[in-house]
Symmetry: C4
Subunit: 312 residues, 4 copies
């Protein structure tokens, strides 16, 4: 196989990253929207709302496992945008990331439609509708509950995406709890799970422009028609704009309440990378170790690190 590998190898880093983002979002949506399709078309006999939450959560987990090492596993234009604004991702790759994220979601929606074609036709008696008792457009994009005011929905998406970013940034902050990379995707999945459990009722927790736009475009071209844009009082633009606002709010909350105040911020990148010691105050307290609250905490000094190295 190695010779085949060498012949097809892509050396352009941005293209590799775009392929990884595309596949990552594809996995997220195939599992997430697939779970919605299963619960909808089986009329809750082969799943329930919690299954949908688990579908999107584990979809996020494996989407991250597939792309983390290549593209950083943003899987969400709002995340890419936030990282660009925070200066942690180059602006020039933003449009490419976003396009491939939406494209991956579109392909995934097509896959779900293919896999559930018979089931959708059977459930809806062949009527592809956006509203009503046998509506199936909700398999793909999100739509607000009947009672929901558009601006309440906007606030819902801002709050949800802000919580997503606060938790993702906390899990990724090595000067808080140092989570090893192999656990990261599981924790991202649990964040998506808890948001779905606590913030899914109003308007389906899109939290992600690509997750919503790609499948909505698919359902538009595949026969659900322009109702996918008119439904919910012209809801379609909310899951595109509100998550971007929410991601910035969440980043600001985490940075200004927690991250900006870590004492060891001036450490250079290489040292931060090597520092795996968490400043685990709770563990020390449970252990009965007296802490001096005036000592700056964080990475151990070089002497300590060398010592730890010797003891494995």
């Amino acid at each position: 196989m190695d010779s085949v590998f060498r012949r097809v190898r892509i050396r352009n880093v941005l293209l590799r990253q775009c392929l990884a983002e595309c596949l990552g979002v594809y996995i997220l949506i195939v599992f997430g929207c697939g779970a919605v399709a299963q619960v909808t078309t089986s009329e809750n006999s082969k799943g329930q709302y919690l299954s949908i939450n688990l579908g999107f959560a584990l979809g996020a987990t494996f989407g991250v496992y597939v792309s983390q090492g290549v593209s950083g596993a943003h899987l969400n234009p709002a995340v890419t945008l936030s990282l660009c604004i925070l200066g942690r991702h180059p602006w020039r790759s933003l449009p490419f990331y976003v396009f491939f994220q939406v494209f991956g979601a579109f392909l995934a929606a097509a896959t779900v439609a293919l896999q559930y074609y018979d089931a959708i036709m059977h459930f809806s008696s062949g009527q592809l509708t956006v509203t009503g008792p046998t509506a199936t457009a909700g398999i793909f994009a999100t739509y607000p509950a009947d009672y929901l005011n558009l601006w309440s929905g906007f606030a819902d998406q801002v709050i949800g995406t802000a919580m997503l970013l606060v938790c993702v940034l906390a899990v990724g902050d090595r000067r808080n709890t140092a989570v090893p990379p192999e656990l990261g995707p599981l924790l991202v999945g649990l964040i998506v799970l808890v948001i779905g459990i606590s913030m899914g009722a109003n308007c389906g927790y899109a939290l992600n422009p690509a997750r919503d736009l790609g499948p909505r475009l698919y359902s538009y071209v595949a026969g659900w028609g322009d109702q996918v844009f008119w439904a919910g009082g012209g809801w379609w633009w909310v899951p595109l704009v509100a998550p971007c606002v929410g991601a910035l709010v969440g980043s600001a909350v985490y940075v200004f309440l927690i991250e900006a105040h870590h004492p060891d911020l001036s450490l250079d990148a290489e040292r931060a990378d090597q520092c795996h010691t968490v400043d685990n105050k709770l563990a020390l307290e449970l252990e009965g170790v007296e802490l001096d609250p005036n000592t700056p905490k964080g990475c151990p000094t070089e002497g300590q690190e060398a010592k730890k190295g010797e003891q494995g």
Copy 2:
């Protein structure tokens, strides 16, 4: 961003800790009470009792991830009080921790009310009531079941919080099973999950004065009125007092049955910190290794540690 960081940086350790406790409790309550709001207002169509258990469990998990490295992630005045009594946390920071824990819970309740405003109004037809078929006060604070005697409820909260502390202390005890810091928040979440699954039916497993008082105050000022204090026979003080009693009982149970008897207690703090080897009798037994029951167990000797270090 670094220059921005440097300008806003807070160097006061206690203030940083209070901000972290505030955000940690905020996350716990936004996800926990958010799940209750989702299940209540969707009339179990978008969740069930298990969703509520998962909401509080994962809320605890990410509340701990957000604050562990800064404040120790108490997130509960009863825990802070226990650690002060055990001599593992300074008494002088107790009032500050407690205030910010309650404040974080209050802000979170306000966020849930904002996010579910339309849903609550739709579900309750605009009547904000504490009891009755469309009561919504239970989204915020806990109320006892109709059948529950006040003192039975007090016992329930003592037992629940005691079990919480026994498990948290066991997970944090490095001379028992040495759990690495990145797993701690997940295990705290699982402890909250199992308590909700097995001890939630009587009076909603508050186990935490801040979790109950903050949202109760919010619901009082936001329109549910003074019934939030009179309901359940004046229930409101039980989730404030009983968890403190329970936390002390649980700490005593763990310390006097397990922790006080570890052989290596006299080791100094630094060594305990470096000792990651668990005295894993089960693993050795499963492996077929004969153990001499008279050998004191615990951290390996210095010679063994050096040897292990060499072998990675």
Copy 3:
């Protein structure tokens, strides 16, 4: 606190182990039977059968975390018996372990009865019965389904306990997948979960003489009367005897199909203890590494180990 610790410290290893087993089983039963009480008395409104499965699973997890470092976390007389027969635990401590395991389960049943006293009285209208629509004896001990023949139930318990032991021995076998000690309790919980999900319908998956006898004795003395022994055609002795048979069958299956054939069995205990490298054929295959099927696998040679140590 240290001076208090020093005064109460117990230096007798067996007594420390018995206290740990007692507390470990106590946690298992408080959470497990507590979940049954919650689901039963709330008539499935605050939980479902899956909640009960999770209650026993997480009860096992935290029972192991509490006792693993002290007593090895058997928490089950059938496990203790198997380990004695396999020569991995001293016979002389068997009766002490078993007594304290049953005693911990008895105390836990009393705690559940105290916590759910009002709920049980309300649900059963004060009639403590073993059978019938408001039977509550099933909160404590296990009883077979109506359709179940006694000997089918015996086979069910043998199969269930055998699967428990196969999985526990696999997880603890460092020459198969080397699971670090901090993950062990989580995996034990998942084993209990899957057994409850797939083998709980017939007769409630006791799998553990202490889990069944302790609570049964409690319900006998607490007012359910001698029906707890007569019900189910004299079912009570099956969960005492069948798990012991099953544990031996399961140990034999794992040892003779997998463990006896590991190539590096003659390594001495110390080396086995230091060997953390798993012989991970799957990972290598997925990675594309050619394996020579004739090379004995297992712990690396000393040279390899030293090399790895240098590279961290």
Copy 4:
């Protein structure tokens, strides 16, 4: 015990691997089909569709734990076939692996039938049928939903198995996210879980010729008759052929979108084995570390590795 071990020890590597595959698939099916039996015969009172998903998921997890260190834990002829085609497993052991995988599934089906004999007889009033309201053949093999066209079912199985392989290869790819071997079985279980949640409604997500053929053969000989082959329009061959196609599709997708483009592909096997550093772009971005997108990423250079080794 050691002398017993030495007497029974099998030194033939292939036979050891076949025993491990057999026991691994046995565990997968005992737990998976056992969960179906529990949900079916209890008429959803002791479980629900999610329980079945969890049964197969945790069955896969513990099947992998039992066999990973010996046979590589394929547990699926489609996986073995893919690895042979990718050149990562020897062709000559393919027929032996497949036979023992099917044999393990057959034995497991027999065990489930034994354990649930009384329950099946009670539920079906003694009529062992393949279709109809009290059909019980679905406990063993998979059957398509009434609405499903045979070729739609074929596509469903191809898509499902392709997603299985994409995720399994991503988790096992050390140059993407380096997952330690002890977490692998848990992640395999989560992959099976999410596929069951999102792709189980149409035809029961066999995804595995052994999982379907072994139990189908058992149900054929045990009294369900040749209807197990005729039902669903001659469905039986689809879960044998389609997963093999899907496994190849999934392998190709992962290899050509992600794996072939890793920069460090030419590293020799030994180095790849020692390289545990994940190229964790996300973590660095969240941390605020500027990345040069033109630097090839992957394993650190030898100098870096030595340095890390010194620091533990």
